[in-house]
């Protein structure tokens, strides 16, 4: 059989079809003109963003909401460098994003040509892997490998840099049937002996705590996690990335732990005799002072990335592999056994009663109230967040029931992430209500995407908790810098209602508690892109809080 002849650009499109890509978020330019010309005739939906950063975040949000790889596309030079923040965001949170960039023609590489940037060099530390296409005949193999690498093992972004002349070069297309990579073989099944040892530690424990994160969601292990928690009667605390991995309303749920976690989650970890850590990386926002973290506990650490084991804390029992696989095996050994955690769960119940997450319930419009109302009005919504106070309140006060319903930049903490990511999430799951819980600061970092959601009819809701400040920075200034509010007041910000209207979106403003629910309902019913400007209490802080460098049980309640 002869192989069909086609241009490199066409080969890219053909390869993307084979990978079942339905949508690309992108922005054209000189070095991707041949590729955009092929896109014109293709069935792949292209969503034209207004800034390449948003393309990367949208691909990331699409991926987190659907579990599939997200694809973004940009031209060479500034187009490619504008993707960098989005790629770094995806890298820190292990999200499979495929970034395709144009590059100047091969003969010009290295000559500081117009719009040339060494994007493979620039993204080396923030991609799982990257490629520079040297020959158009390599395109199918590279794309196949890129998708495989991005989506397997510990997922992550992969960038493919495609010189313009390789896009127009004619090649013979053949999509490879299999992958041959000597240096990449992720481990999926956990060592059975280690799993047995874990089971025996678990059955001996009197104060076990399951500390789980994004790895549970990535490996679709929420049901196995729930079975494990219920069969060993162990409380579950999740990281920010793990919100949705375990139902917030479950009696065994401790909510989030760490800097802005619940008191009871932090107390439980500190008093625990066995931490069962699954798909987590012992981040400093979780552990606080690392030498004082879980001082009485043995630690079992399950992760698919061997490099995470022992990176931040000493681990008594490591198991490398896929969380779902390992939990399934583990369940064989712990089921129907006598549990010894009754006193422990009673103690935790008491802590939960004594130290609930709470805020001042008065007549003022407080941001926590807004999040609670969103939770009540749209219990099945996908919540996307910006970064800062809005992110913490969204994590604390929304009742998460399902995985892939909380989407947030955890590792990199990228302001401006939420709005474009919500756009991607909505494109991936159009049947769901998608709400970006935003701050007035973060939202303004990518508000230009209002044009994209209006043009492409992507009805996301942006709930701005507008306090006129860069609230989280101000909170730190208030607590640790003598209330010297250096450069954190956002006075002079735009009128968000008028801004929405200027773009053709719906704009609503809420200043009273009694109007919150109606506004949310109106936004949902409108089926239009909507901004709700919640003018909330300016002084509100995120509480409780573990000061940086303190042990996580040294937790403070803030006014």
């Amino acid at each position: 059989m002869t192989k069909p002849k086609m241009s490199g650009a066409k080969a890219i499109i053909e390869s993307l079809y084979r990978e079942k890509v339905e949508v690309i978020f992108g922005y054209p330019g000189g070095a991707v003109l041949p590729l955009y010309d092929e896109l014109y005739d293709s069935d792949i939906r292209h969503i034209l963003v207004r800034h390449e950063q948003a393309a990367a975040h949208a691909a990331d949000g699409y991926s987190r909401a659907t579990g599939k790889a997200g694809v973004c596309l940009a031209t060479s030079g500034p187009g490619a460098t504008n993707l960098v923040t989005g790629i770094a965001t995806a890298y820190m949170d292990s999200v499979p994003v495929i970034a395709i960039t144009g590059q100047v023609p091969r003969s010009l590489i290295g000559y500081d040509a117009f719009q040339e940037a060494n994007i493979t060099g620039i993204t080396l530390p923030i991609t799982k892997h990257n490629y520079l296409v040297q020959d158009s005949k390599d395109i199918p193999v590279i794309i196949k490998e890129a998708f495989y690498i991005a989506q397997t093992g510990r997922p992550g972004p992969v960038l493919i840099d495609v010189p313009k002349d390789t896009q127009s070069e004619i090649m013979e297309f053949e999509y490879p049937a299999e992958i041959k990579m000597r240096g990449y073989k992720p481990t999926y099944t956990g060592n059975e002996q280690q799993v047995k040892k874990a089971a025996s530690l678990i059955l001996k424990a009197e104060k076990p705590v399951l500390y789980v994160g994004g790895g549970i969601i990535i490996s679709n292990a929420t049901e196995e996690l729930r079975s494990l928690a219920e069969s060993i009667m162990a409380p579950v605390t999740t990281t920010l990335m793990g919100m949705g991995a375990f139902p917030s309303g479950h009696p065994l749920s401790l909510g989030m732990l760490g800097m802005h976690g619940t008191r009871y989650a932090n107390y439980a970890v500190q008093e625990s005799d066995l931490i069962i850590a699954i798909g987590v990386r012992f981040d400093d926002r979780v552990t606080g002072k690392i030498s004082a973290f879980a001082p009485n506990a043995r630690i079992i650490h399950l992760d698919i990335d061997p490099a995470e084991i022992g990176k931040n804390v000493r681990v008594d029992l490591p198991i490398v592999g896929d969380a779902k696989n390992i939990l399934k095996t583990l369940l064989k050994y712990v089921r129907q056994e006598q549990v010894r955690t009754e006193a422990w769960t009673r103690k935790i119940e008491a802590w939960k009663k004594e130290y609930p997450l709470t805020y001042k319930k008065d007549n003022l419009l407080r941001p926590q109230f807004v999040v609670e109302q969103i939770s009540e009005t749209c219990p099945d919504a996908i919540i996307v967040t910006e970064v800062g106070q809005n992110q913490m309140w969204a994590a604390q006060y929304f009742n998460y029931k399902n995985p892939r319903t909380f989407i947030s930049s955890g590792g990199l903490g990228t302001m401006g992430y939420g709005f474009p990511a919500s756009m991607g999430a909505k494109v991936g799951r159009p049947e769901s209500t998608v709400i970006d819980i935003a701050g007035d600061g973060s939202f303004q970092m990518n508000s230009q995407e209002l044009a994209t959601v209006v043009q492409n009819d992507i009805p996301v809701i942006v709930a701005i908790l507008n306090n006129g400040f860069l609230g989280m920075v101000r909170q730190w200034q208030e607590l640790f810098f003598n209330k010297r509010f250096s450069a954190t007041c956002l006075e002079g910000s735009v009128d968000f209602v008028k801004l929405a209207e200027a773009y053709g979106a719906l704009g609503l403003r809420v200043t009273k508690k009694s109007d919150v629910k109606d506004a949310i309902m109106e936004a949902v019913k409108s089926e239009r892109p909507t901004i709700i400007d919640f003018v909330v209490e300016k002084q509100e802080n995120v509480s409780p809080m573990v000061p940086a460098g303190a042990a996580i049980n040294e937790i403070l309640d803030l006014e």
Binding site: T120, G121, L124, P125, K128, H129, L132, I149, M181, R182, G183, Y184, K185, D305, P306, A307, I309, G310, K311
Partner: protein, 166 residues
């Protein structure tokens, strides 16, 4: 504590940058580095000497293993391996010192590979301490220039570093 790592990698452009970049961004220090193709032309072998305790070594090896182009990482223990460096040393000589330099070269089983009227180039192979020792001795005559390769190392006996990962 110094460790010698043998790293088998894909023989492709850019791989050295990936490995070196990993060391710098993770804060690991490279003491020496040597790269060359192996018995299989698709595979290159890097020998990297890294300093650090066992925890650092473990992290270095795990992080290296995460690189897609890295096929295998092995720790080569010093006492069960052959370790070699090569140095070229240009020594200033005159008629009175030439013979003495040549004697030292003989004792070290080194070679003189270039003879000029005012200088000699000495080629010496050996482990780090041997090269340090000859350099020390030649210094009194005036070392005009010196270049050293990074260390290369190989396990003694039947043990081999193969491309099969893990």
């Amino acid at each position: 504590m110094k460790h010698t790592l043998a790293i088998l990698v894909e023989n492709k452009p850019g791989v050295l940058t990936r490995v070196a970049g990993l060391f710098s961004r993770r804060g690991f220090n490279i003491e020496s580095l040597a790269v060359g193709v192996t018995e299989n032309p698709d595979t290159s072998r890097m020998t990297i000497v890294v300093s650090g305790d066992d925890h650092i070594l473990e992290q270095v090896m795990k992080q290296l293993n995460k690189l897609i182009d890295v096929i295998r990482v092995s720790d080569i223990p010093g006492d069960e391996s052959v370790n070699r460096e090569l140095a070229l040393i240009k020594v200033g000589v005159d008629s009175t010192t030439r013979a003495e330099v040549m004697q030292i070269v003989d004792v070290f089983r080194a070679k003189i590979v270039d003879v000029g009227s005012k200088s000699l180039i000495v080629e010496v192979t050996g482990d780090e301490s041997k090269i340090n020792a000859i350099e020390q001795l030649l210094r009194q005559f005036g070392v005009k220039e010196m270049v050293r390769t990074g260390k290369v190392a190989m396990n003694r006996g039947a043990k081999v570093v193969q491309t099969e990962k893990r």
